[in-house]
């Protein structure tokens, strides 16, 4: 094995390889220390591990298992949240069935991610990790009646689903995820299911908990209480303006839980791929309502911003999400 030859080959596709390696000089110190003890058979594995480290930890990217475990944590949050639906009062049967269906999906996502991660999966944080009232463990936070009051419950459900959509979208272009086509496709196949949930929960909020025909309820501007199925601008701050604004706001575009060359903007963004969208962008857009240009695109969020939102619903001292802050 000619180490320099390998480096030279890598340099052809990644001119910055020496820089990357240089910033991780500790690896080489480590390597020279153990070098004599390594057998010839173990060397390729060791070199592989070095490059895994160098490339997995380059700025702008978490390793793929870190991203999957972050997704798993969000799915646990959702799964335990939907398990709390059983004491709700005043739900129509079609609305109750919808929540059961979503609960099944979230439990399936937990199972799927655990199976994908295998032994690399985090421990189950358990229901005890969460306080969905937002009280950090005192069970008396701003959403205190969420277990029984469907209005509060659905406001939280929309908040979690819309956050989930933004989280998967934001993580997809992280280089370790993009490089693993199986993981990328699976993540997107969860992402779109979360978006379907979000749109449906929004419909339930339009129609009200008791409605037997929620799909026929009209969206009412400014959309906080009777939202469209899609996010319009920043949705006037979301289901509980003041408490849920961050779910529709801008993220961080640098740091560990971001993708390189991607900007995490607020949901009212209308600049897409260098194209500013407005009624003057195309003759076909003439007369379109200005909200349509932000509605047509959802926006992603970085890991840290999502963790900040999710951390509001863990108990004090629990590190499930605080580790990213």
């Amino acid at each position: 094995m000619n180490f320099l030859q390998i480096l030279s080959a890598i340099e052809k596709v990644d001119p910055e390889v020496y820089e990357r390696l240089d910033s991780r000089r500790a690896i080489f110190k480590n390597m020279s220390g153990v070098g004599q003890k390594l057998t010839a058979a173990a060397l390729p594995l060791f070199v592989g591990a070095v490059f895994n480290k160098v490339y997995a930890q380059t700025p702008g990217g978490l390793a793929v298992n870190d991203v999957l475990n972050f997704a798993l944590k969000l799915e646990y949050l959702e799964m335990y949240f939907y398990q709390q639906r059983t004491a709700l009062t005043g739900l129509s049967s079609v609305n109750a069935s919808a929540l059961t269906l979503i609960a099944t999906d979230e439990a399936n996502h937990v199972k799927f991610l655990r199976n994908t991660l295998g032994s690399a999966a985090i421990n189950d944080p358990t229901a005890a990790a969460f306080d969905f009232t937002g009280g950090k463990g005192n069970n008396a936070g701003p959403f205190i009646d969420y277990r029984t009051n469907p209005t509060t419950y659905l406001a939280l459900a929309q908040s979690f689903e819309d956050t989930g959509v933004r989280a998967y979208k934001g993580a997809a272009p992280i280089s370790s995820v993009m490089a693993d086509k199986t993981v990328l496709t699976a993540a997107l196949n969860i992402h779109s299911v979360e978006a379907r949930h979000a749109a449906h929960i929004r419909g339930m909020r339009r129609g009200g908990a008791a409605s037997a025909t929620p799909s026929q309820a009209a969206a009412v501007s400014p959309y906080s209480a009777a939202p469209k199925g899609w996010v319009s601008g920043t949705d006037n701050g979301g289901a509980v303006p003041g408490a849920t604004n961050a779910i529709y706001g801008a993220g961080n575009s640098s740091g560990a839980g971001t993708a390189a060359n991607v900007t995490y903007l607020a949901e009212d963004n209308v600049l897409q791929g260098g194209v500013t969208l407005s009624t003057s962008t195309s003759p076909a857009f003439s007369g379109f309502p200005s909200a349509a240009f932000s509605e047509a695109f959802d926006e992603g969020l970085d890991v840290k911003t999502v963790a900040t939102i999710a951390n509001l619903f863990t108990v004090t001292g629990n590190t499930t999400f605080s580790v990213y802050l």
Partner: protein, 243 residues
């Protein structure tokens, strides 16, 4: 021949930026070219273009631009559909206020997606495919059932298509944009499905509810068989360059 290339795809525009891979593909190419001995010139001619490039089909191309044009084609189909919905007799005579509000938004969003892709592909220095000509079964725009079932088919197909094509995107920004659009398509699909049948926002025809609850994404080769049934001769899509 493409089956023998490790990526399972024709060399793409994006591959030109990845010098390490190019020699490998060239090598396998010449290995096979050599095997045909005297017919080398013929093989070269055959391989310089897509083998399945039937006359009259619209080839979306390869690499990131190919995926963008593929998305542009699907958005053209959706935008055209909702344009015609709003002129059709269901919308103009029998749709409820809420149904109209929803169909209006879907029309805006899909026209925005369509013209966004045309602008973005042009801005990337590439050439967008032509404006496609559509065909629909008789009566498509006349009844609620026909309109909403066709809308459901298009929206569900769009979600499955974006999810299934993401693997061919090599640029993070393009993948991010695809993600921004696909979740809106999924929201559309959920709302349309609920209009058809309350609580059908996910269903086991599109999401593996009995298993992992993952959306059942579709590869471009599968998506085009449906898309092409709504496209006129001369506008049908060839996506063989996407891998």
């Amino acid at each position: 021949m493409s089956e023998n290339i490790s990526s399972g795809s024709q060399p793409t525009v994006a591959d030109l930026d990845r010098p390490l891979y190019t020699p490998i593909k060239r090598r396998s190419f010449f290995m096979y070219a050599g095997a045909t001995a005297g017919a080398t010139a013929l093989v070269l001619a055959g391989c310089s273009k897509d083998d399945n490039n039937s006359p009259g089909m619209v080839n979306v191309g390869t690499g990131d631009v190919g995926v963008l044009n593929y998305a542009y084609a699907l958005e053209q189909l959706e935008a055209d559909f909702y344009t015609k919905v709003r002129a059709g007799s269901y919308y103009t005579t029998s749709a409820t206020t809420v149904e109209k509000q929803i169909l209006d938004d879907l029309y805006y969003h899909e026209v925005i997606h369509r013209d966004f892709f045309r602008a973005a592909i042009t801005a990337a220095g590439a050439t967008p495919i032509k404006a496609l000509e559509t065909v629909y079964p008789n009566g498509t725009f006349d009844t609620k059932t026909n309109v909403l079932n066709t809308a459901k088919a298009f929206e569900d197909l769009g979600v499955a298509a974006y999810n299934g094509a993401a693997r061919y995107i090599t640029t993070a920004q393009y993948l991010f944009i695809a993600g921004k659009i696909v979740s809106v398509e999924a929201r559309h699909a959920a709302v349309i499905r609920d209009l058809l049948s309350e609580g059908s926002f996910v269903g086991n025809d599109i999401v593996d509810i009995a298993g992992n609850s993952l959306e059942m994404s579709k590869l471009p080769s599968v998506v085009v068989t449906t898309a092409n049934s709504f496209l006129a001769d001369g506008s049908k899509l060839n996506v063989s360059g996407l891998g």
